[in-house]
Symmetry: C2
Subunit: 139 residues, 2 copies
């Protein structure tokens, strides 16, 4: 079952708690790393084979809208989904060795983006960074 914290965030976002959504959150909580859509479907099917693929994708969309999950780009360009502890918009460093992620708060990025906006007369609506490398413990 998904943690109480996640539940509260979903309710706060006006979304309902369902068995199916619980199982998606569960799979992500157990993994502690970004999962491909396929991996999530498989993990969910293990505890409940009757959950449809469409529901998994809808759930991921809903969780992303609530800021609970973030879609990231894995090494190789494949998309993955990551459960975020941090609330609000933020970015991630993805370790190519152990697969774990490090949160990068928006505040660490804002000065850089502001500089870019000023240099090019560009207004940033949305940004996402894919930074792959090795974390401190994998070097």
């Amino acid at each position: 079952m998904g943690s109480a914290a996640v539940r509260d965030r979903m309710l706060a976002a006006g979304q309902r708690i369902t068995r199916q959504r619980d199982e998606v959150v569960d799979a992500l909580e157990r993994a502690r790393r970004p999962l491909a859509a396929r991996e999530i479907c498989d993990a969910v099917a293990e505890s409940n084979p009757d959950v449809g693929r469409a529901t998994v994708f809808r759930t991921l969309h809903a969780l992303a809208a609530a800021g609970i999950v973030q879609r990231v780009t894995l090494a190789g360009g494949r998309p993955g989904y990551l459960l975020c502890e941090a609330e609000g918009h933020h970015h991630h460093l993805v370790c190519t060795s152990c697969g774990r992620t490090i949160d990068l708060p928006e505040s660490a990025v804002t000065p850089f983006l502001t500089g870019v906006e000023e240099a090019h007369g560009f207004t940033v609506d949305h940004s996402s960074f894919d930074v792959h490398g090795r974390c401190a413990s994998c070097r």
Copy 2:
């Protein structure tokens, strides 16, 4: 036919010039904006219906390896391919209004990445930024 500059860059990368590759480059040069794989297939098929889908993907891969094309993320998370004037590793600002892109040289990004590395004990192997917003002339 792809420009001579692109031809030289492909030869320099040890790749052969073929009719099919020329047509992929052509499609991207005409568009002057990132294209979805499907759009490239359609554009190529218009001038030569016998070019296989697999060849288009292989060509995009080869062009990306030579730094001639970059895979970017379009609004909505869909992948797109962009012909790059600039050589070497760099990033792009994508205008959500007119679809055009602005090159962001690696040198504009390095100080930011260095700061991130120092703050988190992380070694960056590869980074790609998706920055969406409005360019100066679309505001």
